[in-house]
Symmetry: D3
């Protein structure tokens, strides 16, 4: 097996296990515009970083929800990762608690935007 393929496959498996099998259609859409960004997304975050043993996937997803809440603009990525956090064992209450804590570090607008996105993921809004 060529090492590059193995890196890609490891990343894809990690993405699927966190973000769900639906991620492949998202990747295909991304690759239609930028095949290189699609490949690096699989290989750097999801093959190189997430599978490292230093933190479990649930903790990693909690950190990612915090990071995306602070950034504020990437609600599409936050939506994926709130679903991802649920997939790897976070409860809804934990996700809301993370967002609530971010009021301290990034203010209320960041938390308000993130809770709207969480509400969409939780199916409380149509």
């Amino acid at each position: 097996m060529k090492p590059k393929e193995s890196r890609y496959n490891r990343g894809l498996a990690t993405m699927r296990s966190i973000l769900g099998p639906g991620i492949e259609s998202g990747l295909k859409e991304l690759a239609a515009t930028s095949p290189d960004l699609a490949r690096f997304l699989v290989e750097f975050p999801f093959a190189d970083i997430y599978p490292r043993p230093g933190l479990d996937l649930k903790t990693r997803e909690m950190l990612t929800v915090a990071a995306l809440t602070v950034l504020g603009y990437p609600q599409a990525e936050l939506k994926e990762h709130i679903q991802g956090a649920l997939n790897v064992g976070c409860t809804r209450d934990e996700i809301l608690e993370i967002i609530l804590q971010m009021t301290v570090y990034a203010g209320f607008p960041a938390a308000l935007e993130a809770v709207k996105t969480a509400g969409v993921v939780f199916g409380e809004k149509k």
Copy 2:
């Protein structure tokens, strides 16, 4: 009267007087996902901070319009606070002047996004 209720009620009254009575449906929607964030939003910004005597409500809303313009991503909150600024005595010209000044501190994209939102509030766009 329990002190906690009094804090919540003071906050709710401040929110209504700034953002208008429509804010209660917004709060209800927020509370459907995160009742705790809804409560802290009422209690921290609007009971603890806004009613403090150090600055009048018009000045506070002007500062908030500046802050949200600089952040750039929270256009939903900016929309509420442009309406809020009008409610507590700002003129449209003052709001546009604040946004214009923010070109100096956050660049033209921040101001362009904020003016679009102001245009929606002013009813110039449908």
Copy 3:
């Protein structure tokens, strides 16, 4: 000719040559809410900065695509400038390469948002 008009006209010509003749309807829409911001947008970035001889327009548009990708929230402005970059001689591959490089400086969410916008401009999405 009054010097102020000449500055405005020089800016408008630069805007048209970069962003295309459609920019005038955008300016009219902006001026309907804030005539002053519309005028400063023409005069400061596009009369004072872009026509300076120190960098050619293609390089300037590449820098702008990088800057807007990093900021993340101004996807409407990024859309205009991805089209602008194409208009002044950038290739699609160069634009995607700029966005890819920004993963290093602003992370993957910034690049993912920008590629979605690039995909819209490139006509790969409807």
Copy 4:
């Protein structure tokens, strides 16, 4: 006992247990300029948010290290919270792993600044 004092005292106890007893001299210095910000810092983040049962203190400090790494500019606060994370049970390796993961969401400059600060806390630099 008056409820307000109890809120302040609960916050101060939480701050001490996370950030160490040295935090009181920091608070005194802050209160010399802004007694109100010092009080709100004790009462909102550390009495209202951190002691909530939804997340344990170790998880909260990990989220805070992530948030401050993403923001980039508040290295003084990050320094306090890297020490805080160690105080409540994080290992150095976990802190470095959090910072490493933030390359994905905020890019390498954010991680490089945070690792420098971690190095100072870990005593690897004088």
Copy 5:
């Protein structure tokens, strides 16, 4: 008088009246590296924007203190403008109240950094 000189002179007079006569040595230092940025700083913010009649200088400086607090990284500019705000009639209490309000929109780290800078300006720290 040539119109360009008049624009520069009007800007310089506004800078002096807000930031104090010491600003000229700061401008000279800036011009030693980038004469063009020094000139545009005088001409765009301080000739084109600040002297506009829509907002008085005290209000403008309050908005600028809010904006720079939210941005977080430009503490050198915030220091100038806290002094500027004092020069045009803000009280220390008003400045601290602005910074306190920014906890709501940009979180506590933004306010903590700004209060440290305010403390330096107020002469409470050496």
Copy 6:
């Protein structure tokens, strides 16, 4: 030769050619705290991204100077890359022109901080 070593070596060679041979002591210092971040810094930006044929190194460094100016807080990284830009063929005037253009997208504080850093690199300040 193992592929991983080859990736690291390619990255290190690119770093040296852009940032100068002094970069190795910087990497050693970084690796003393986080060997993994040091390795990923070499391998992802400098082996995977920078050597790609889509943009030449001079253009890449110009984009990086723009990105770091916009971010504002990473002046240490900006200092390295201003030197890097000079090393791969940018002139001082081009670097100052990039920073000047960023006033449009990130405001004057971003440009003022960056020019101070450029002044240090250019040896105009001690």
